[in-house]
Assembly symmetry: C2
Homo-oligomer: 92 residues x 2
Amino acid sequence: MKTDKDIDINEYSEIFKALAHPTRLTIAYNLSKKAECNVSKMSECLGVPQPTVSQHLTILKNANVITGYRNGNQICYKIENQKVIKILEQMV
Amino acid sequence: MKTDKDIDINEYSEIFKALAHPTRLTIAYNLSKKAECNVSKMSECLGVPQPTVSQHLTILKNANVITGYRNGNQICYKIENQKVIKILEQMV
DNA sequence: TGCTAATATTCTAATATACGAATATAGATA
DNA sequence: TATCTATATTCGTATATTAGAATATTAGCA
């Protein structure tokens, strides 16, 4: 679905869907404010089991909200998508 | 759930959930760009049945994304929530 | 009052999401 | 290679979402 200004509504609705869960929004918000972060640190900080965090990360990845890269034996996640960064910057 | 800066994560995740459906995002985006709009005009413009539009409007209302007021025998919806307006302004 | 147009609600079935528990995999390093 | 740590996947169940169809409600007006 497209609007007048040729905005990709489906792309944005996918982003919003990914951000619509409190745990995922917290992960994304923190990644936008702080440095990148690995999975076990997130699990510890959030008090959420590692498999659950991993499931949420998969959803965020599939919506192109976050990207991950391996660093030694862990995987660091960060936000590169400028659309997502702009959205999260509005949060006050 | 709260973050460092005392942002209300639950409030925002509710907003994002409301915006996570293509039809609802289109409605909200159009209301943010154009003037307010009544239900049957939305139904016509979107090509979506009136009851379905009304259901989506209820979800947007409950998430405090839109507000409605009666004007004669129709109901006009608009966006007043500044947080929502700021989010939608980021869409390019 | 009775009719009409606009909007909202209810119901149902199909589909999607969430989460905990258990298990699997991948890569680093001894 | 064997093992350890970090991360991902699968499974089952409970719950939520979606959309269409039918119906109900509301307010304006003849």
